[in-house]
């Protein structure tokens, strides 16, 4: 009966879809909203299965949550999509693509895909999560991309280590940060181009940061950054620059708009402030806090009385998952779940547990994860003005019949 709730997940509601936008008969399916203005039409973009359209231009596409119940790796055609600026190339020749490594280096490089493949190839399974994943659940609501929980995915990335590329280029002693830029650009020249930077110490010492040319063993879909994308395991997706063209070593801390003004969080515990707070310091968003979800139950679903397997996922910013607990009474009591195969500290970790549901009752399921670094999810949701890094305990009310 768990599966019936999954079927319900994709509610076909042609009337509402028509009110939302005249998409035509082939696009009448929508995923019903779980917050105001939250209905999302399901549309197949190129190289993608039907995904939840947050905005079509530039494309922002959310993965329907049921996908996360299918397996530990998120298929490329189901992987979420998020672009900032509408100037996205719609044709990219991987054979002609070049990555320029410059700035404060002794030996500037111009790398083709073939050059990149001469470096030792490494694989890392890592979660790519939008900084604003789950923004629509912020209370009070905030402006921005109003995602449910599906602006994330977990893939096996293959490529060359950033540190190997930087070592070959020879980073100079006065380097402070490394800036990344891709093929995408703004409509107006006045709009700040999308550039992101990492501290030089992290870029040269973290062997898991990869310039990736494969995603789950295939070339990346164009909308996920074909032909190469920066992979920063454990960190939010804003740093995972798509269609990478420039790796530039800087002698200063990057002060471009996307580092200095945008994608900043309060420098407070768990990036949490009150809506009335003012004047607090901010820092660039960085590592992901620990999160977990149940993947085969939906809030508000019904469950047949009897024995059930409850499944889910957990992940954090790179210390791995130590434990996941499940509650059936809204968080009063907790039981350890069984962790499934370990794909490394940056991956989704699947878990499951066994639950007996009594007829005629209401159950409030919840899950909470503890990361390898000891951090644990808390019940109270955070708030910040940009709607970043929501990570509180998720709960799922179900009626048992």
């Amino acid at each position: 009966m768990l599966h019936s709730s999954r079927r319900d997940f994709l509610a076909a509601a042609a009337a509402t879809a028509a009110a939302l936008a005249p998409l035509g008969a082939d696009a009448a399916k929508i995923v019903k909203g779980v917050f105001g203005n939250g209905d999302r039409p399901l549309v197949a973009f190129p190289q993608k299965r039907p995904l939840m359209v947050l905005t079509p231009r530039p494309p922002q596409l959310e993965t329907p949550f049921e996908v996360f119940d299918d397996g530990v790796l998120t298929p490329n055609d189901a992987f979420f999509v998020r672009w900032h600026l509408a100037g996205i190339p719609t044709s990219v020749d991987g054979a002609k693509h070049r990555i320029k490594v410059g700035g404060l280096v002794d030996h500037p490089l111009l790398l083709s895909l073939a050059d990149l493949k001469k470096y030792e190839a490494v694989e890392v399974v890592a979660v790519n999560q939008c900084s604003g994943n789950s923004r629509g659940f912020f209370t009070p609501r905030v402006a921005g991309g109003e995602w449910q929980n599906g602006a994330m995915g977990n893939a096996r990335w293959t490529g060359a280590r950033l540190q190997d590329i930087l070592a070959k280029a020879g980073v100079q002693a006065s380097a402070k940060q490394v800036q990344f830029h891709g093929l995408d650009g703004p409509v107006f020249p006045e709009t700040p181009a999308f550039r992101k930077s990492l501290d030089i110490g992290m870029a040269t010492s973290n062997p898991d940061i990869v310039v990736a040319y494969e995603m789950n063993g295939e070339p990346l879909p164009l909308l996920n950054g074909y032909p190469v994308r920066l992979i920063v395991p454990g960190w939010f997706a804003t740093y995972w620059v798509k269609m990478l063209t420039d790796i530039t070593v800087l002698d200063h801390v990057d002060d471009n708009f996307w580092m200095k003004t945008a994608y900043r969080i309060p420098a407070t515990p768990n990036a949490n402030v009150a809506p009335t707070d003012k004047g607090y310091a901010t820092i660039p968003i960085n590592r992901m806090p620990v999160r977990s979800f149940i993947t085969n139950l939906k809030d508000g679903a019904s469950l047949k009385a009897g024995n059930h397997v409850i499944r889910g996922i957990a992940f954090d910013g790179g210390s791995g998952i130590r434990a996941v607990q499940c509650s059936t009474d809204g968080g009063t009591s907790w039981t350890n779940t069984l962790l499934e195969a370990d794909y490394g500290p940056y991956s989704f970790r699947r878990w499951h547990t066994f639950v007996t549901a009594q007829a005629g009752t209401q159950m409030t399921f919840a899950c909470r994860a503890q990361a390898g670094d000891g951090s644990m999810q808390v019940a109270t949701p955070i708030w910040n003005a940009s709607g970043y890094q929501r990570s509180s305990i998720e709960s799922y009310k179900v009626s048992v019949s």
Partner: protein
Amino acid sequence: MTISKTIAALAVAGALIALAAATPAQKMTAKSSAVVSISLPGDLGFAFKPGPGSNLANSLCLSCHSQAYVATQPPFSKTVWTAEVAKMRNVYGAKIADDQIGPLADYLTTNYGTP
């Protein structure tokens, strides 16, 4: 062999079905092994509600993004919509004149906000 042939046949049939079902949004062509070309579906019919000020929204907002950027937001107050319009101009370089900020914020508040 029989099984693999069957799988191959099913795969071909599946590919044909997928081609037949492809909408313009789904077309993807590979000119050579390394060239990936797609065509994006445009705005999928997302459009500003008609009414006073919709001409401003159509001419000033749609140059950079679809109407869905507005329609998916919570129903903001005029104060918040005014701040959003100002941000589009001051931060992102939208070509919005001083005397257009008020009327555009009015339109957004009336149609996508809480007056």
